[in-house]
Symmetry: C2
Subunit: 411 residues, 2 copies
């Protein structure tokens, strides 16, 4: 089947579709002898397998026929109510009617692209930003306006210029950003909300890791900062922020469960769009997640995840401090799953990766996270997946390689 | 949150999005006192709940960490290999590389829209045709060219005129079509394949019900007829048909598992497109479906489904014969889940539905299944969901109503 009529019939958007960096990287991580810091995988050791198994049994014994049947597009109501209660605790004042269950956050990003992006629309993103969002929105012909990121997140001092280009919305990952690991400071959250209001540009807040904080104080989500700002200023409208989160990091990614919180009128439209995309997210998975979460289990479980990832982050930072060359800079994330390395100007992290793979260690070159170019000397390093001893070994290999390369570049 | 900035930022496609007929109908079926023949639901009595529960336990005990982790976009290899073996038995010569697992067939339809449809492209469909396909493709700006359906399926004698309009592809549901219940005859399958070849237009074959045949002889899928035609005629290419099927009717719809079979180059592109849409279908669900299916269980289980649905179809046809007015015509499906009623010209089935709901019985008015209009006097009636006694009662109510309405229309 080498010659088929289909290839002459692709839509324009298909012809523009490039090969996928994430996809190729997932393949790399499948080689068992490579220590990969490239993926974005949670540690399988923290999956609550037994609790999940119990929940499957309870759901099937008590509601088997319902769990295996079609269900409504918006999602399983008790799960949406549970998410609403959880959100209220974090200052996000919503009910189940604001919430749509999606098949992972990637689907939420795709839905947002479908709902809001016309070909050629500008989207304001951080640079670097989450690659999955770029992949989702490229399919709708998005263009990007970027604002740089430093150790306190999006540099909101540079936001006004970008807002003047008339972007459709702002996309921000405020907590332990993928890929950089940095967190948007409270002062900048307020600045972001204020400027978004001033220019009338709404915000998509993507928060997959918000609960995975290992030190420092929890900061209110941008959506809560926005509500407070509107109350303080007597604003005539609310709902300037659509908020995304997921069970992938708290429970398990293999069940593909996430959610969108939006103003009710937007949620209703999102429901209609999702219906044409996959009817609904798996009923069974939603009921099992509710069963796992309903007794407060996730609050306890997240402590286990935090302890595990904190140790791994600490080991990684310690070994980097010890073995990385002084010419390399890296972020010190207060949470999440990634840190960000910056090599000396002129070094190409894609070239470094090729050599790293020969030494059986991998990371993601940072260029792909920059939609408008740049970042050739940056790298994303995951610390959640590998065991501490593996991190020690892998970061050691990487540190030695970087030292050699920097030394060689001088001679 | 009544006034938000988002509503001014919808993409053009969102503004065109209408309210959904299926969605409103699913709500109807939720009222417990209505006998609903409107949904497209499998009978919950045939869900293999216990087998499914066992499979969940085995998967989590033996592969817990893997089942809850991210996985590759194309799908779980053992499941794809199982589907390939199954397909080979039905004359579809493929390997796992031809197969992509999707989150239900609705996602496969969405993917096909994304891959192939540019705004304004003509798609050749049966009239009536499956509503979910129209919903998926409307989002990509599809236009439709229709070919009518009679008791032997798509009237291929009328296909050439439609093919001359230059459609992007042909969409056909050859077995027990949703909504009409009719099956494309073998002679017409050959005619379809021949004409598609002559005009160089490829085919999407949607086959959710192919195994749910209650009488008559199994017919080869269009994709197999196409392969045979090409062998017989020494064709220089193959793969003119993309084939869709699903576990929703064989196992359970609440786990959202379906598959696409396509030429390998197309499958690779589909994988890239799906990755941007939801990364992958739930790992856990795929592993459980494989565990349920691997020992040949589904072959045995489909016999239970067939026996159950055959009884329900027989009861429905028997009561219709007895109680429906002679002015109404209906199809006698050899399988599947639906039959199709045709009221006298001039009667409006949407008006009939309003009165039917007052009498606590429901069906789907047929107009929505006709993308270019018509069909106001048609209705889709589901026979798989309700128990035989409920069918007897509900069809009785509907028959009495139709008799009254037809009698009144004469006076």
């Amino acid at each position: 089947m080498n010659h088929t009529p289909w290839q002459y019939r692709y839509a324009h958007r298909t012809r523009q579709m490039g090969s996928s960096v994430i996809r190729e990287l997932l393949k790399l991580t499948e080689q068992p002898d490579i220590i990969s810091f490239a993926g974005g995988l949670p540690a399988p050791e923290v999956f609550p397998v037994e609790k999940f198994r119990e929940a499957c049994n309870i759901v099937l014994q008590e509601h088997g026929a319902r769990a295996l049947q079609y269900s409504t597009t918006e999602g399983y109501r008790p799960l949406r109510e549970m998410i609403a209660r959880h959100s209220n605790r974090y200052g996000i004042a919503v009910t189940a009617e604001n919430i749509l269950i999606t098949s992972g956050s990637q689907q939420a990003l795709d839905l947002i692209g479908r709902m809001f992006i016309n070909r050629g629309d500008r989207i304001l993103v951080e640079s670097p930003t989450y690659l999955g969002a770029l992949q989702a929105w490229n399919a709708y012909g998005a263009q990007y306006v970027t604002v740089p990121v430093d150790d306190e997140g999006m540099v909101t001092e540079k936001l006004e210029g970008a807002l003047r280009t008339g972007p459709k919305f702002i996309y921000v990952l405020p907590n332990f950003q993928n890929p950089s690991g940095v967190t948007l400071s409270l002062e900048r959250r307020r600045h972001l909300v204020e400027l978004a209001d001033k220019y009338g540009v709404p915000i998509i807040e993507d928060d997959p890791y918000g609960q995975l904080r290992y030190e420092g104080q929890h900061l209110p989500p941008v959506v809560a900062v926005d509500s407070q700002y509107r109350r303080d200023n007597g604003s005539t409208y609310s709902g300037n922020v659509i908020y995304l989160s997921t069970f992938s990091k708290l429970l398990a990614p293999g069940i593909r469960l996430a959610w969108v919180i939006a103003p009710k009128d937007v949620t209703r439209k999102l429901v209609m769009a999702k219906q044409a995309m996959d009817l609904h997210t798996a009923t069974f998975n939603q009921m099992v997640a509710y069963e796992v979460g309903k007794g407060g289990f996730l609050d306890e479980h997240v402590k286990v995840i935090r302890a595990t990832y904190k140790e791994r982050r600490d080991v990684m930072l310690e070994v980097m401090e010890e073995l990385f060359p002084s010419e390399v800079y890296w972020t010190k994330p207060q949470g999440g799953m990634f840190l960000w390395g910056i090599l000396p100007e002129g070094m190409d992290s894609a070239e470094v990766l090729k050599k790293a793979v020969e030494r059986k260690v991998a990371f993601v070159p940072g260029a792909a996270f920059h939609p408008n170019g740049g970042g050739q000397n940056t790298m994303r390093i995951n610390f959640s997946y590998s065991a501490p001893e593996t991190i020690r070994e892998g970061i050691g290999r990487l540190g030695r390689l970087l030292k050699e390369l920097i030394r060689d570049s001088r001679t």
